[in-house]
């Protein structure tokens, strides 16, 4: 579901070009970022009310997620995301109602039908690859999809994502190594939000940037401002086009910041300086985007307010609807251990 255009008004075509994004795309970007954030906020509220046992959110990473996902071909390209990537799933077609079904582990949640924790995405039709809670394993799955596509000569791209802390695992190395040797069409997208639960990046990496890890594989890689959705799109889009045309894998790092605790179970006051959080909050990706498109005169305030209202309505509807949906039966724990054809 994408945003429908709002009322026409005059705006500078020049700036539009700079963005490499059409008006519709810019509007979609704002819509998806906002939808992701508001969904996460509502999810946390439901958790506080004791109606959702667990929430793990992407607050602070919406620009990275939406900007990167928009650079892919929906319906064609594969996505092997990680638990924070609600924004990516929305771009790929997940609705607010589906997101709420997943949060509440309802019977009809098409990600895992209540079998996995929330935010363990999956949707074969949308080419979202199922993932576990075990981090970084999906990097190898993405490389395997890239290998298969290369063997079949299908012009697709796979994007897989993880946090900066997850790049310390062996599977990260094995996946980049193999993808580089075989020049596979894989975008390894790392959302560096500054923390792995309580551990700052210095604990996980001897290099200042995740993207520096590309040097051991002689593949291309770059760092982008993960708080700026437009910059993310502008970085990822050319890489996707290159990869699709045999340019081999890319390692792209989006510098963002985890604005919330690790999860609804985490108390970040144990390890995170208030000051730091305040500083970063000033660069809230959604605030930044709105300021920029407003000041550039792309969208007048009214358009943006209109989107906000639409998003709020959708979420109110989604939460109310999802809460009334059926839960799994106890016996639903059984079945599909093995696939029957």
């Amino acid at each position: 579901m994408t945003a429908t255009r709002t009322g026409r008004r005059t705006r500078s075509e020049k700036t539009i070009d700079e963005y490499l994004l059409s008006e519709q795309q810019l509007e979609d970007m704002y819509y998806y970022m906002l939808l992701a954030r508001r969904l996460n906020e509502r999810m946390l509220a439901l958790n506080r009310q004791g109606r959702a046992p667990f929430v793990i959110a992407g607050a602070g990473q919406e620009a990275a997620q939406v900007g990167a996902a928009m650079a892919l071909r929906k319906g064609t390209d594969y996505l092997a995301p990680y638990y924070r990537d609600l924004g990516m799933n929305l771009v790929f077609g997940m609705t607010a109602r589906e997101a709420m079904l997943n949060l509440l582990a309802k019977r009809d949640d098409s990600n895992s039908y209540g079998r996995q924790m929330p935010s363990h995405w999956a949707n074969s039709e949308r080419k979202i690859v199922t993932q576990s809670s075990v981090v970084t394993t999906q990097f190898l799955h993405a490389a395997g999809i890239g290998l298969a596509a290369k063997l079949k000569k299908d012009p697709i791209v796979v994007m897989t994502c993880c946090g900066e802390g997850s790049t310390s695992r062996g599977d990260f190395h094995e996946a980049l190594n193999f993808a580089a040797i075989h020049k596979l069409p894989v975008i390894f997208f790392v959302e560096n939000n500054g923390y792995a639960i309580s551990e700052r990046t210095e604990k996980a990496m001897p290099v200042p940037n995740v993207a520096d890890r590309k040097r051991g594989y002689n593949i291309q890689g770059m760092v982008c401002d993960g708080m700026d959705g437009i910059a993310v799109y502008q970085t990822v889009r050319p890489a996707v086009d290159q990869a699709r045309n045999g340019g081999g894998p890319y390692l792209i790092e989006a510098k963002c910041y985890r604005l919330w605790p690790h999860s609804s179970d985490d108390d970040d006051s144990r390890y995170r300086p208030k000051k730091e959080l305040e500083e970063w909050s000033k660069r809230d990706p959604i605030k930044l985007f709105r300021e920029r498109v407003e000041s550039d005169g792309i969208f007048p305030k009214e358009d943006l307010d209109e989107i906000e209202t639409r998003v709020d309505d959708e979420i109110r509807d989604a939460a109310q609807w999802a809460l009334m949906q059926p839960d799994p039966e106890p016996e639903d724990a059984l079945g599909f251990v093995y696939k029957e054809l």
Binding site: M117, S132, G170, I197, E329, P330, A333, L334
Partner: protein, 325 residues
């Protein structure tokens, strides 16, 4: 008098061991900040560089501990959730378990790998697993899974003092659920010993971790109905205490093995086999097992989680059938 929860017992043992022996150090994800279950809270402030945050990489947490233990230190590695230990399976199975064997004891590894296991916490597929069957099939590794705070404390001390790799399993659901007055409480100090927690003539229930508590509750219920159960707290899962297992099986003639792990290939099979071979003449009934169904792991939704988890009711049902046999 001191009442301790499981998590307090674990933390206390580590604190005591670190204070007594500066070769002891901690390595794991988020341990400096206290760990996600707060088992190491305060220890970084107290012991500084002897509490080390590892990168998010389980093979290295185990592999580094092997090297440090070989050098003469006494690492206590923490794997944040048992579900994530599998990337370290190779280091544990191919290396740690064979270090002493392949050098005839010339080299050995005084190391402990602590990890929270088990379900009932809405952890879903990857924060609820029972991993003991895999890791108990590794001669050379000792596996410990206590149930009561006093045993957690004394057996963690025993594990740290042991010259062999010890996998120390902490049932996360019991961390704050189970409390015990520990002064003068019975505490097992030897690895490899099970405890007969309750004596009854009608049948014996074998369990560990959360299921030991559920089994005791079931035994209480059955006692009210006139059926008296012996309940064995296995404590050490590898090597198993065959003597206690066989003595109790012979004494009651009927046995029920309980675990949270899935049925097929779970530890219950080995215990059943030991009894079926060495206590056969004493058996008055089929050997029963109460375990989780054969699905990959605990589903997330509470309705399915409850369906998956064995509990006092399911144990009582099986025990009644067995008693009536």
């Amino acid at each position: 008098m001191t009442v301790m929860t499981v998590i307090e017992a674990v933390k206390t043992a580590m604190d005591e061991a670190m204070a007594a022996d500066d070769r002891v150090f901690l390595l794991g994800e988020d341990v400096e900040a206290g760990g996600v279950f707060r088992a190491t809270e305060g220890l970084h402030a107290k012991y500084g560089e002897r509490v080390i945050d590892s990168p998010l990489a389980e093979s290295s947490i185990i592999g580094l501990s092997i090297g440090a233990a070989h050098y003469g230190l006494r690492p206590i590695a923490e794997i944040q959730f048992a579900d994530f230990i599998h990337a370290g399976f190779d280091q544990l199975c191919s290396e740690a378990s064979r270090w002493s064997y392949r050098t005839r004891g010339d080299a050995y590894l005084p190391m402990v790998v602590r990890t929270p296991w088990g379900g009932g916490v809405h952890g879903g597929q990857h924060h609820s697993q029972s991993i003991e069957a895999y890791y108990s099939h590794m001669p050379g590794i000792k596996v410990v899974a206590p149930s009561f705070p006093a045993d957690y404390r004394s057996l963690l001390h025993a594990a740290i003092a042991d010259p062999n790799p010890v996998l120390f399993l902490e049932h996360k659901r019991t961390y704050r659920l189970i409390r015990q007055e520990i002064d003068g409480a019975e505490a097992e100090t030897r690895l490899g010993k099970a405890r007969v927690t309750r004596r009854g003539d009608d049948l014996t229930i074998y369990a560990y971790g959360l299921m030991l508590h559920e089994s005791l509750a079931a035994a209480e219920t059955l006692s009210g109905e006139g059926t008296e159960c012996t309940v064995v707290d296995l404590l050490t899962l590898n090597p198993l205490d065959r003597e206690t297992i066989l003595e109790t099986a012979r004494a009651t003639g009927k046995v029920l093995i309980v675990h949270e792990d899935t049925l097929t290939g779970g530890l219950g099979g080995e215990i059943a086999a030991i009894i079926a071979e060495h206590a056969f003449e004493y058996l008055d009934a089929p050997i029963r097992r109460v375990a989780a169904p054969d699905i990959p792991a605990m589903p997330f939704h509470h309705a399915m989680e409850d369906f998956f988890m064995p509990n006092r009711e399911k144990i009582a049902v099986a025990a009644r059938e067995l008693a009536a046999y």
